[in-house]
Structures are given as C-alpha cells and as structure tokens.
C-alpha cells in the first residue's frame, strides 16, 4: 500500500514539475493514439453508417470486422513489422512516403489497424440499434441517402461516442504492437506503456507506478468525456 501511495506522490511530482521526459512520453502517446483514432474515425464511422443502412450486408465483411476486433495487438504489430521491414512487401519499395520501422508513423499504422475494426463495428451496431421507424420516417420526410446517413448517425451518436472513447482507451493502453514496430526508442517512440515495461524491468517501480497512474488518469479523463457527451446527446 505504501508503494502505491509513494507512486501516486511521485506521479503528481513528475506531472507538476513538468518533467520533460515524462511529458515527452505523454506527448508521443497522445500524438500516436489521437492520430490513429482520428484516421479510424474519419474512415470507420462513415463505413459503419453505410454498412448499417444497407439492406443486405455481406456477412464476410461483418465477420472480418469482428475478427479484427479480436486479433491480439501484438499480431497486428508483427504484421506491420513484416510489411514495413526493409525486406518486407511494402518496406522493400523504398518509397519516401512509406514510414520506416521504429518511428511514430509506423506505430500509428499499427494502432489504426487496432482501432479501425472497433470503431466500424461499434458504429455499425449503434446504427442497427436505431429504430427502423425513424429511418422510414426520415425518408418519408424527403431525406436523400446522405441526409438519412447523417440523421441515423445523429440518432446513434451515444454509441459512436462509446466507439471513439473505447478506441482511445484501447490505444493509450496498448503495449505489444507499439513495442514491436516502435522499438521503445527514448525520446522518439517511447510511449507510456512501453516506458512502464522498461522501468519495471529496470526495477524502478516508483517510476513505473507513476507512469501507470498517468495512464489511469488519461483513461479516467476519457471516460469522463464520454459520460459528458452521452448526457448531452440525450437532449
């Protein structure tokens, strides 16, 4: 118990003293997670709505999404590693715009693959939960297919918010994939979770626990935002 109290104190001290190493790690974590979430949401939410509005959905696509949600992140990391490595299918092309391994961009690719199926599948299930009578009514009021999609998305917004916050929580707490493709390079690709692994391995439990508290605070902030958005979306 004393260790936890000490760690909490250490976490607060690190945060309020603007420890450059810690804030650098938080910055990389947030950049990686928010960018991956933004890409997943920009592509995944419209895709989820489109799938939800189709009278017949290809079952293989739905099954693929649910499979994507269940793939261990470390396997996704391994796939990205294999593709981006110098001898990999993509890495061997040597194109300037293709990210190299052990960069934040490579981590963003792995994390996008992690969040994308979750955002699409949860958006799809939220859209399917919207009363069919609402869809029929919106069309009867003269909506185009695009306007219908916007209306349904608006009705399903609580679920979509859950998809996004759930996606963020999964990304900020991910360790396996980012360790593989990011390499935990100090000052460059080190994120909160990989830093925790490193500090624990080195026996710096106070610092590891402090970083753990930061992850908890970020997860709590995300959930607080979720609760706020869900409350306001019921108006």
């Amino acid at each position: 118990m004393q260790d936890l109290i000490n760690a909490l104190g250490a976490a607060i001290r690190l945060l309020v003293s603007f420890d450059p190493v810690l804030w650098g790690i938080i910055g990389v974590s947030m950049r990686m997670s928010l960018t991956a979430l933004a890409i997943s949401s920009i592509v995944g939410i419209p895709l989820g709505v489109w799938m939800g509005l189709r009278p017949r959905r290809p079952r293989w696509l739905t099954a693929l999404l649910y499979t994507g949600m269940g793939v261990p992140p470390v396997v996704l990391g391994l796939l990205v590693y294999v593709f981006l490595s110098r001898s990999g299918v993509v890495g061997s092309l040597n194109l300037e715009w293709i990210p190299l391994l052990f960069t934040v961009e490579a981590m963003i690719i792995a994390q996008t693959l992690r969040a994308f199926p979750m955002v699409v599948a949860l958006t799809l299930s939220s859209v399917l939960a919207v009363d069919a009578a609402v869809r029929l009514q919106v069309r009867a009021l003269g909506a185009t297919e695009f306007q219908l999609g916007v209306a349904v998305l608006r009705e399903a917004r609580s679920g979509v918010v859950v998809a996004m916050v759930g996606g963020f929580a999964a990304l900020i707490s991910e360790v396996g994939a980012v360790m593989l493709v990011g390499g935990n390079v100090a000052g460059q690709t080190r994120v909160l979770t990989t830093a925790i692994v490193l500090e624990t391995g080195q026996g710096n439990f106070d610092r590891a626990l402090a970083l753990g508290f930061v992850v908890l605070v970020l997860a709590f902030a995300g959930n607080l935002l979720l609760a706020r958005l869900q409350t306001s979306s019921h108006g």
Partner: protein, 243 residues
C-alpha cells in the same frame, strides 16, 4: 371530380413469393380524403409506402401529378418530397420539438424553417412546447408534433398510417381537425389508413376497403357505409370478420 394526383395502374408489390399489394386501378384526386380500411395485414401500409415512393412497385405504374414515377430518375427525389407520411408511431428525432418540426424543411434547404415550424406547431396547439425535448412528450403530444412536422413542409399529399390509434378522444379530435383544416387551406390530397370506421365516416370523401392486398370497393363515404356494392364490404362495415 378534381384532376387525379395519383393514377395507379396494375401496381403489384411482392416480397419474395408473397403478394402484398395488387391494385389494378386507383385514382386519388387533389383535395380529397380517401380513407383506407381493412383488416390488419391487408396491405394498407404497403400501399402507403408505394404512394410515398419509399419502395418501388414490383411491377405496374404509379403516375404522380401526370408524370410517371421512376426511382432511377433525378425527378424521383423531387416527387418524393411532395408527399409525406405520418405513421402510427411518431418516430421523433432526439432533438427539440421545434427542431423536429423544422426538420423536413431543413432537409429541403428551405428558408424560414424556424418560423414555419412555429406556425405548424400552432396548428396542432403545441406552440408552448417548442423548446421542450421530444423525449419529454406524452404519446398524444408526440403524435401532434409528428403531424406538425408533416404539415410544416406543406405536402401536396399527406399519407396517414393510423395516426390516431392508441390516442385519447381529445387528441384524436385535434388531429382530425388539423388535417382537415390543412386540406381545406392547401387543397392537398390525404390517404388515411384507419381501423376506426366512425373516423373514416367523419373524415373521408371516399372510402376504400382493402383485403389481401386488393381493393374490394372504393366508393363515396356515404355510399360505402349505407349501400355497399360488395358483400364483403357490407360484412366489414357490419363488424364481421372478412378475409
């Protein structure tokens, strides 16, 4: 008789092997109220969906205001926007009452949506609830908001799918009055699906009986109730079960 708003010829709607609607011929005129009666599952709601162009017929033609409806043409959306439906369940959106009523106008990008929504709310006596959330309304209020939402877009055809089922007599009276006043002021055509024969007698110019997807008899209201030509109509009006 006024010019026909709709002219249906040989309209067939099938779901798989099941025939939901088969209407050989039906004209619906501008400014008339046609009540559509019949037992549950007779195809009345399916016919309304065809009239609102929400589903295409399997075969046959729906001519609307002199033009043949074809879902594949650019005209289809414009035609659909001249018609709307009030369903049995109000299906209000998660927004304020005023925004719900203005919704159809905003879909069309029409100016003055707020003030026209306020006018429509006055027509159904709910102007005081404009700022309320739709979720806070009673069943009767919600249905009146749904009607105001339909009236706000000034449709040329108003389709009503049992809008007063499950409502108390005061709300039924308010909705009937608002629809008939709108018809009088705008000259729109109304097709009103109802299980309430007394209501059909009160509101309709003509009444149609539908059985197993087909129109058995379409006649002026007085004639439909007092001197039906088809024995099945006589049985239905007499309160017997007909198939």
């Amino acid at each position: 008789m006024a010019e026909p708003m709709y002219a249906l010829s040989g309209v067939l709607k099938r779901y798989g092997h099941k025939t939901a609607v088969l209407v050989e011929r039906l004209d619906i005129c501008r400014g008339e109220v046609l009540a559509l009666v019949g037992p549950s599952g007779a195809g009345k709601s399916t016919l309304l969906r065809l009239l609102n162009f929400l589903e295409p017929p399997t075969s046959g033609h729906v001519d609307f205001d002199g033009a043949r409806f074809d879902a594949e043409t650019p005209m289809a959306l414009a035609q659909r926007r001249r018609v709307t439906t009030v369903f049995q369940r109000p299906a209000l959106l998660r927004m304020s009452v005023r925004d719900n009523v203005a919704y159809g106008l905003r879909l069309r990008g029409e100016a003055g949506a707020g003030s026209r929504a306020a006018d429509a709310l006055r027509q159904v006596g709910l102007q005081d609830l404009a700022r309320s959330g739709a979720a806070t309304l009673s069943g009767g209020e919600a249905q009146r908001v749904a009607l105001a939402r339909a009236l706000a877009i000034a449709p040329e055809v108003l389709l009503l799918d049992e809008p007063t089922a499950n409502l108390d007599p005061a709300n039924v009276r308010l909705i009937e009055a608002a629809v008939l006043e709108h018809r009088r002021a705008r000259g729109c055509a109304c097709v009103w699906v109802t299980h309430n024969l007394a209501q059909a007698r009160r509101v309709a110019d003509r009444v149609a009986l539908m059985l197993e997807g087909q129109l058995v008899e379409v006649a002026p209201a007085a004639e439909f109730f007092s001197a039906p030509k088809d024995p099945r109509t006589a049985a239905f009006v007499g309160g017997e079960m007909v198939w």
